[in-house]
Structures are given as structure tokens and as C-alpha cells.
Symmetry: C2
Subunit: 337 residues, 2 copies
Amino acid sequence: MSVSVRNVADKAGVSVGTVSNVLNRPEKVAKATVERVTAAIAELGFVRNDAARQLRAGRSRSIGLSVLDIGNPFFTDVARGAEDRARDAGLSVLLANSDEDAAREDEHLDLFAEQRVFGILLTPVGARPERLESLRRQGTPTVLVDRQTDSSDFSSVAVDDVAGGYMAVKHLLDIGRRRIVFVGGPARIRQVADRLEGAQKAVAEVSDATLDVVLEDSLSVLRGRAAGERLCARPASNRPDAVFAANDLLAMGLLQAFAMLGSIRVPDDVALIGYDDIDFTRASVVPLSSVRQPSHEIGHTAVDLLLRENAEGEDFTHEQFVFQPELVVRESTSDGS
Amino acid sequence: MSVSVRNVADKAGVSVGTVSNVLNRPEKVAKATVERVTAAIAELGFVRNDAARQLRAGRSRSIGLSVLDIGNPFFTDVARGAEDRARDAGLSVLLANSDEDAAREDEHLDLFAEQRVFGILLTPVGARPERLESLRRQGTPTVLVDRQTDSSDFSSVAVDDVAGGYMAVKHLLDIGRRRIVFVGGPARIRQVADRLEGAQKAVAEVSDATLDVVLEDSLSVLRGRAAGERLCARPASNRPDAVFAANDLLAMGLLQAFAMLGSIRVPDDVALIGYDDIDFTRASVVPLSSVRQPSHEIGHTAVDLLLRENAEGEDFTHEQFVFQPELVVRESTSDGS
DNA sequence: GGCCACTGCTGAAACGATTCATACCTCCCT
DNA sequence: AGGGAGGTATGAATCGTTTCAGCAGTGGCC
């Protein structure tokens, strides 16, 4: 059926070992032989069988990456960062989308295990300590992405979301807003919980400020729009003067609702700030203030940690990277003065 | 090192063949035996080695999907559609991003070949007949996605982009615009060329209408912004009264530029229409008119074709699916009356 | 009793690349 | 001449799963 090293070897009049050497350490093989083998490979259209290679090697040369939402540009940026770094190291990235669904995440992790991946980058759905424990036992190097951990069993690359939440709401307070609403996703998502915590911290520092919490069941444009419609439906007296959305997708949805229903002007009536600073925010109805995360670098760093863990073996101490977010102020929170 | 069927077999007191049967056709094995083996598997923490499985089977149970731009929500939607369908069939999807770069695409295709993937879904960068030819020779079932083909060697799933381009510009003409600019990406991308062709067809039907073509080197928000800035820099007399952008990312960028520089109002001065109808367009400065493609369904159908080609073997006749796009009118092309 | 059918299980062979101990040359040095 | 070193090439063993021909045991039927 398929052309194998055996066929190449016969054609070139050498042994299979030599073909393998040409493939993997050509410097060990005489020049003339390399040429003969190379010619045979080309002529027969030989393509290495990765399964056989992996079987022998014991592990694959792919990194598994499971993200929460592939429709969120933040995660695709992280994926890009990871892929760039992986390429340099001769590895490839298997991108899997859990869609914030634990069952789906499990499926993907099982698949990664069966594939004996080189390592796993995981943005876990919720805490799921039992899953992490089983990953640890399994021995595949795993880096938690966009999630801090106090466990010394895993490396992690995260952004300080508490600081990000704080900085967003502090900014709203600084421009004089006091009745603030936090629009988030399911509390089981750690990013949401942390950003909320930061928001609460900022509010606590100003005596007459209040924070109202609205939780949607996912962090999508659609859910943001729904939340926005509900806010618009409130009597004007009961409306916030600022909204902090847990990510830009929600913020875009809120903006859509405000713009469509026309009853709330941004930033005059309500100041709005999102999170992630995705590319689209600059083109939204009102350019959106946001909290920027170094997404590309997160992906980079995560792969670096994986590579180091792999190189150093047993005596590798797991590292916890925490990046600082950055406030990006645009029109949606301009103070109008 | 790793636990194998051998170990499980020993533990359960059966042969390796039986363990394999429990894994793959439990109905052929006596109930008590199944239980014993299952228990042994659980106790030892046995995880199937996919490489060995693949080696034996001759091919993997993954579908390779290469997309042009993973940052474009249109493609992630296609990917989602493909993954949903693949899951049902017990397959998984390897998502690869070519970033409109032929070299990268080649790397991914080579990788797919080495992995002996079940099939390939490809949104090719440009025409690249030689690449397609080598895929065909290689024998891996391949479906061209978002690209029509007249070759009977491949199935394809596409949207009629000429019709889409026609319908976008026809709409601009219908609301009374005459000096139209097409902002596209590199002409080697077939989608761009087809949409332009449709646009030209529509313009040709109206005697006093003109079509100006501006080509950027990628279909991104950033490039759209650059194009927008250049349009703003033109003297008012030389400006178009409508712009058709080859995709929504470009359109969003144009909108950003118009809004930031403030010298062009949408739709009053310039009507704007995009392509793809991604989720974000509804939340843009001015809700964006667009041409919708059934992205999810495209992914679905592509996988279906792959499965059928696989099931029917030699006597499978390659099919060319062509979906019709749909015009979505929003504020950015309202005629102001 | 002899034969057949059926169920349940066995274990060797096969998939294809890589590794490694071994062997063969040449050349050079003593 | 003998021995060592260095450069090349060999091919059997190995990785872990699946497949399949075949064996044993049981029960039914004539």
C-alpha cells in the first residue's frame, strides 16, 4: 500500500537503518549514499509514517491546547503565540475548543492522553481539582494557561485578573462614576471571579460607590446583548452610570443593545469598559475602553515552560508566571469634560 | 514505562486479543470477562496508545482542517461546524492556521500527510494546482472549502461569491450610490477575486456607475483601517459614495478610520457593506450591512462529503456544493430617506 | 457415537520507523 | 605484520495495538 523505508532501502540498495539515518542524521552517512537514498525517496514519493515514529519514540511531537472559546479573539491570539513558539521548537499545536464545557474538555484531554502528546496547555473550565490530579499522575507536562495556581505540581501562565478588575473599576471611579454594574459570566470561570474580586476591591475604597453584579451564562456577544436589553428596561433612576464587562465580547453585546434601543448613551449616561482589548473594540459603536492582556506572550511563555519542564526533567521547579494587565482608555469611558 | 494491553491481559488473566476485543467489540466477549478486564484497566490506569492503533489501522482518526485566518470569526465558525459533525462520526479535527501564507500551508499539509489523516479540509491559499495534484496523487480524500473547483478530482463546498459580490453592489446601486470603491485583499485569494467579479457585473448594469478597486495585502482590521485613512485623505470631490469591503474585518477597519478621522459619515457620505456577517458587525460604530454565508453548514457539509467519499470508495463521484449567500441590510447602507 | 454449530478465547503476525550492537573497510602508526 | 582508530553500513529487536486463523468446550440432533 503505502511506501515504507523498506521500499526506499531496496530501491537505493541500502539497509533500512541507513534510510533512517539519512532521514534523521544525514551527517553520519556518506554523501553519495545520502544522494542515492534521497533520490529513491523522491522517486517513490515516500512520506514518513508519523504513527510508527511516535510509537517507537513513545510520545508525539504535538502540544495539546484546550481553550475556553475559540470564537474569542483573545484565545486565538494565545493560540497563535503558542504556535509560533512551538514551530521554532519543531513541534505542532493541536487546538481544541472546550466551549466552556467540562465534558468536552474531558474528551479532549482523553484524546491528548491517547495521543501521548508532548505536553498540554490548558485553560481549564472551572477548578476541577480531580482532573488536574489525574493529569499530574499521568505524567504529561501540563501548563495552566490564563489561570493562576498555588499548586507546585503545575506551571502556570496567567494575568493578574484581580489587578485588572481593580484597574478597570478604579478608572470608572476616577472619572466620577459611582453606581457601577459588573456584567460577568458564570462564576465558576476563574477569570470572571477574579475580575469581580478586583472590582469589589476598588469599589470598597470609595465610600459612596456601589457595585451591582449581573451574571450571564456565557461570555458571548449574544449574552451581552441580553444583559444590555435588561439594563435598558430598567427605569432611568435605577440605572448604573458605569458598566464593567468581564470581557470585550460581553461589552460589544451591551453596546449593541444600548445603541439599538437608543435609550442609553455611552459614555454620557453609562460609561463602559471591557476586558481583553480585542481588535474589534476599536471599531465599535463607541471605541471601547478595555484592559489589555499580553495574549501572544502568554502563549509563547506557556510553550517555553513546557519545553523547559521537558528538558530539565525531574529537577524542574514549576513556575508561576503572572503578567500585569494594562488599562486602555478610549471613548467609552471619556469623562465628557 | 507506560501500561500496555499486555499488562492488562496479565492482570486480568486473559490474552491480549481478548483485551483488544473488550476495547473494540465488547459484545463478542463474555460478560464476566469484560468485567474482569475493565477492572484491570481501571486499576492499572491503562490508556490506549493511539500511535500503535494508527500504525495498525494505517490511518488516523483525525481530519486536518487548514484555514486562511483563524482570527476571522467566519473560519472559526466553519471549524465549529466541522468539529460538530466530526464528533458525531467519532473523529477529531486538527485545526491549522495558514495565515494566508502558502509556505505555512505546505508545512501543515505535509504534517497531515505524515499523520496519515483520515481526510483534509482545505481553504487553499491561491490556486496552487501543483499542490492539489500532489494531494490527489497521495490519495487522501480532500475537500476544498470555501472554494469552487471545476476539477472532478475533488469535492468542494463553497458559497457563490460572485453572486455575493453582485448582491452587495447591486444593493449599493439600489440605494442610489454610483461611485463605488471595492476594498479587497490580495487578488490571489479566490474569494476576493470572485467578490470583485460580482461587483463588476453589478456595476456594468448601471451606465453611470463606476467601480474603483483598492487592494490591501491582507484581509484584516488593520489593513482596513489603513485603506480607510487613505480614503479620508482624498479630497471630498474624489471620494466614493459607497464602499464594498471584501470581508467584515476590512469593513470594521474602514469604519474605525472613518470614525476616528471624523471626515466621512456612514452611511450619509459613504455607504459601507462588508462580507461574512460576523457577530461583531452588529456592534460596530454603525451596524454593518453584510453578506451572510452559512459558515456552520459549510463545515458540516465538508465533513459529510469526506465521510461519504470514504464510505463509497472508488465509485464516489466528487460533488461540488455551492451555497447561496444572503444579503443582510443594516444601518451602514440605509438610504437616509 | 458422530457430526455440526456456536461461543469464547488464544497468540502469533503485522503495521513502519528507530536504535544499537556489530561488522567491515581503510588508513595510519608502531 | 599487527593493532587501533575512524568512518560507514547492517539488520534484528522493539514500540503497543489489532487482526485472524484456529482451538477448546458445550449442546443439540440424527
